[in-house]
Symmetry: C2
Subunit: 370 residues, 2 copies
């Protein structure tokens, strides 16, 4: 079971490899490509966090060493609040200590936090060296590692500092998901269901075929492999058609308009991104059915998938619809005072609109109160 998804970007095409035990092949894959993706003898800096490094660091180091690379590593504290320029500075220090050169590479081994920071460090070290993404969280596998967005947070805002920098290779080893906390797994499942709704009806049906979607151990390896492949393909398709976020890429924000407002109002506590997106998807689906864009029956099927992934589908207790609506209008996605929504038009199809009235948003949110 090894699948390769190509991301055909004009300047920087690259492959996403989805393969069990992929960690152990990373070095060989980099070296064996023709021409090699990274020259033999080159220096490689592996960046990770303590949890992930403890589980998988040695295997990645070994794999790279056996392929003839000169390897060192840098372990940063875990967590979103360490996604800062300060952590990136530690990567720079390691790059200097290890004397990385133009032809060297960084390897990001971890979730989206490590992936975003390592990508940014690689984008800016010597004005850009190669980065290889080895995502270990489900979210990083199907979202953060693909598409070349890299960056860190500013103390006053998420992802304000960053660069586009495409990886040279993405290696996804589904087996590492067994150590991922279940709540992280479920959160990412929201984004996967999102891809099914906005882009890939077959992925949606694949998810419907699963018994449970709330923990990785309930997914047969073949189904997990399929879900990963199709999710990566969905993100890759969208990115390839809109590398720098000029238009189409906006549909990836399905569920995110209201999702962001909820996360933000809850000050990112007690709820995670995927959970907020799940709620946002329920809201967007209701808006879409009200507007006649979407069948109620299909919206119900989305709802069932979210429930099967044990994701929330109601507005958390204590959150006022009015506050959500108020925040929406100060959101980045506002165009000329109207909120921009991504809405489904069928399973595997979505579009953006700014024709959603405030009363409609209010009534939909009111109906979703816990």
């Amino acid at each position: 079971m090894k699948a390769i998804i190509s991301v055909p970007l004009p300047q920087a095409a690259y492959d996403i490899v989805v393969a069990p035990a992929g960690l152990d092949h990373l070095g060989a894959w980099l070296a064996a490509a023709e021409p090699p993706l990274l020259k033999s003898g080159q220096k490689v800096l592996v960046v990770s966090n303590p949890t992930v490094f403890r589980h998988y660091g040695q295997r990645v180091l070994d794999s790279l060493q056996q392929a003839g690379y000169r390897v060192s590593h840098c372990v940063l504290p875990a967590g979103e609040r360490y996604k800062t320029l300060r952590s990136v500075q530690k990567i720079y220090d390691a790059a200097l200590a290890h004397r990385l050169e133009r032809g060297s590479a960084m390897v990001a081994l971890g979730g989206g936090v490590i992936g975003d920071m390592t990508g940014f460090a690689a984008a800016t070290w010597l004005r850009g060296i190669a980065v290889v993404q080895v995502p270990t969280s489900l979210l990083a596998m199907v979202d953060a590692a693909i598409g070349g967005k890299t960056g860190v947070n500013h103390p006053q805002g998420k992802n304000l500092i960053g660069a586009f920098h495409q990886p040279r290779l993405v290696v996804i080893d589904p087996e590492v998901l067994k150590t991922l906390p279940a709540r992280e797994f479920r959160a990412a499942m929201a984004e996967i269901i999102k891809y099914g709704v906005i882009w890939d009806g077959e992925l949606f049906e694949g998810l419907e075929a699963a018994q449970r979607l709330d923990q990785v151990r309930y997914l047969p390896p073949e189904l997990l492999q399929l879900i990963l492949q199709r999710s990566c393909q969905a993100k890759a398709d969208v990115v390839a058609q809109d590398e720098k976020e000029a238009g189409l890429r906006a549909i990836l924000n399905y569920g995110h308009t209201i999702g962001h407002a909820i996360e933000s109002l809850m000050q990112y506590r007690g709820i995670n991104h995927g959970e907020a997106v799940a709620i946002g998807m329920v809201a967007a689906a209701a808006i879409a059915t009200q507007l006649g864009w979407w069948d109620q029956a299909e919206a119900d099927r989305q709802h069932q998938l979210l429930v099967k992934a044990a994701l929330p589908t109601q507005i958390p207790a204590g959150l006022a619809s009015d506050d959500i609506v108020a925040l929406l209008s100060t959101d980045k996605k506002v165009q000329d005072g109207r909120v921009r929504f991504v809405l489904p038009k069928g399973i595997g199809q979505a579009d953006t609109t700014d024709a959603v009235s405030e009363p409609l948003i209010r009534s939909v949110l009111a109906a979703m109160a816990a």
Copy 2:
């Protein structure tokens, strides 16, 4: 006297405008282009240092305001040792305070230090917003502001952190040079003479026509204008043919191989970059004549230009040739153990070679001792 030099980059073509009183037209030029280079009503953050801002800040702010932009500014301490991530962080803070958006711009008003930092901040704010370069030092005008290299220093090495980010417009106002310290002026003259030698024989002859090259006030405005235009054109030509430093751009390192070694051995004290490059050009010229690449008569003409610019042409007292040679072999430009040199083949023509023997370098340096 207004000249426009186009830099025809496939993804990001832009113009360099060389015009007396250009500072006062900056806003109008941004707004009047069709389509405008920056939409009316957009936010602009002007970044400068105290000296430059005191002289020219208000004029630039006025010009932008009159063109309908919403302007704020950020003044950073002057000097190479403030070319750090820390200063860039101050630009980010100002960008946040002023709520810069995707469609906003930063304007770099200053020498190469401000230009490099502002360019880097713009490259990485919201993953890249527009930057306009308004270079005020001669070096920034003919070198740093053109070509899209941006970045900051790491405590242990120059320009290690950076990104390629082309400006949207470069505005050069020759009149600001009247306040530039003479030593800064002369240092940049080394790079200008360099362009004459490696790229543009007519520029070289233009420089020969000048009475003096050591202070701006001795240059007639027409000649200064010509020198600026042709120097920018030279840099633009080379950059356009090799945007990401794959090959040709290496010839810009003429004089820099030995120049860098000298700067570095002197720990960047008592000598500036341009002075070191001047010495490096004398050394490279001697190597080229010894190898039969270059006429002695032409090398002498280069020597005279350097003298006319009051630039040093001898190895500073106290520097041992052996130390220079030893440092060269640890330099970035080393390929497979041999030092890479750029050598002239005629006036306006140069090429790279790694066929320079160590004994030859030694004998040339010995002959140049002060």
